[in-house]
Symmetry: C2
Subunit: 317 residues, 2 copies
């Protein structure tokens, strides 16, 4: 099994870029100083997300391919949350020189798998040696002539809606943290999120006034949206139907599945606000209302502050 | 002095994004799921470069601001090497939770300083905790209606030309490695490169057939260009005038200044090939010729293979 320092930087790049099929929007792929990607809208959406080993993933819990898929998904979901369609991925990789090439090929396979699922290519990147494995992914996207759906457009009276799973990755993490490897449904949700990519542009077309990728937790991210919009978001907990599988896992671990759904991150659902008369696109469920901020912007659950910490601040003690 | 885990992820982001002035091309800056950047050409140039503490920089040799400038410059030079004009930067940062906020503010100041120098903004990014400080920067650029200048367009008969400094960063690194802090001119070149950004688009306008950012070393990077173009590049060493300051430093250290110029990386000069009848833009100097590959593509110095290792492969033993 070769390691990175045996094949070298250029050897690795040759191996992970060989035989990859770029979509038509990749006008110039890897191998030059920079890539060239189609931006037909005349504006490009861009975001960067960083995943670190032992913080965001563990290679004894996830395969390298799963880590690659997750790193790509986190960024592609951010593009979708603007109402945009992804157009390309780039990756900045730092890892120990002793890393097996197979691990890095698996990572690249995962990045490619998720990229291919949304019709884009991995168009460029860089690799450097580091004591810690760090995967920094940048995603680009196209707005197709629409205005970006920001976090700041929610207005009192709007409907708050959700598309995609929440709480599943948190359940999976809870299971793995206790030394179990099943049920596969929740463990798999921690390993590889399934963001509803197409729901982002669909929400934009349906008139969404604000949108956010649920990466830190539903309440935390609705809190960011509420802050940016200067409104109060009231989530109606009865609208959040607890899936039977989540209820089972919670029961087995003595946990509260609704707490996972309200505060668990990393599922990369999309949350958005729509005008009261909008027809929600397929897959979207109304989960609350936007109200006047009153004493200040924030999030309520059934009209009251939620008692538990609402989500994930990466460095907070 | 606060550390990152004391102010938290969102506290840090608030501090490094406050009071920054975005250029007109930043249509939506930091603070949402993704940024939106103007791409008037309808295509976007994109590249990613990773810098790792103790590999690419040392915080006892460089200030955080210098590291930020260097990380930005490495990427902005790649955009210039396509003949494009930079439009935006994004940064993926991984660092220990114990990192002083002042260090990260310095890094951000440096990224902003270099971005501002070329008229772009730092439009987005992410920060995560990691045992190692890793800075992954992505730069975007606009081709202004021109075709990208790739590495693969050099043709036999073309003139090989250089714009910008070579060997200075290598001299600076040699000085620092021996425990000295001066002369400032070469140490400064290691800390903060001075890529000739405008020379990239100027070369494209002048008809450059191929171009590359000199980051690994002149011969190594001309080797990449020669490989991609399927040609032989012959560098005429008498055209590389050794600057007096470089000669002095080399003499003091018992080193060969021409070797630094041929093999030293990280100055981010631009090397390009031009048709034989092209007028070189200001700042460009002819340093050699493109020849038929014959027995295979590669680089010669004065018609002969260069005896020393030609450059930098990040992981090669």
């Amino acid at each position: 099994m070769n390691t990175l320092d045996e094949v070298g930087e250029f050897g690795l790049i040759a191996r992970v870029t060989a035989n990859r099929r770029q979509p038509a929007g990749t006008l110039l792929g890897p191998g030059d100083d920079a890539a060239v990607v189609a931006a037909p809208d005349g504006r490009v959406v861009a975001c960067t997300d960083v995943l670190v080993e032992a913080v965001h993933f563990r290679l004894d819990w996830s395969t390298p391919e799963q880590v690659g898929r997750k790193a790509a998904a986190a960024n592609l979901a951010d593009v979708a949350a603007m109402g945009a369609v992804p157009t390309a991925l780039l990756v900045g990789l730092a890892c120990p020189a002793s890393t097996p090439v197979e691990t890095l090929e698996g990572l690249a396979d995962g990045l490619w798998a998720e990229a291919t699922a949304v019709g884009v290519g991995l168009v460029g990147g860089d690799v450097a040696s580091s004591a810690t494995l760090v995967v920094s992914v940048t995603a680009l996207g196209d707005l197709e002539g629409r205005e970006p759906v920001t976090r700041s457009g929610a207005r009192p009276g709007d409907v708050v809606a959700l598309c995609g799973r929440v709480g599943w990755a948190a359940a999976g993490l809870a299971v793995l943290s206790r030394g179990f490897r099943s049920p596969v449904a929740v463990v798999g949700a921690h390993r590889v999120p399934e963001p509803p990519y197409a729901a982002g542009p669909q929400a934009a077309i349906a008139g969404a006034t604000a949108m956010i990728d649920v990466s830190d937790g539903l309440l935390a991210d609705l809190g960011h949206l509420a802050q940016a919009s200067g409104v109060l978001v009231d989530v109606r907990s009865p609208t959040l139907q607890v899936p039977a599988r989540l209820a089972e896992v919670a029961s087995a671990l003595g946990a509260d599945p609704l707490h996972w759904m309200l505060t668990g991150g990393e599922d990369h659902a999309l949350a958005a606000t729509f005008p009261p008369d909008a027809t929600l696109p397929p897959g979207w469920t109304a989960i609350g209302r936007v109200c006047e901020a009153g004493d200040g912007p924030g999030v309520l659950v059934d009209g009251r502050p939620y008692a538990e910490p609402a989500g994930w601040d990466h460095f907070a003690r």
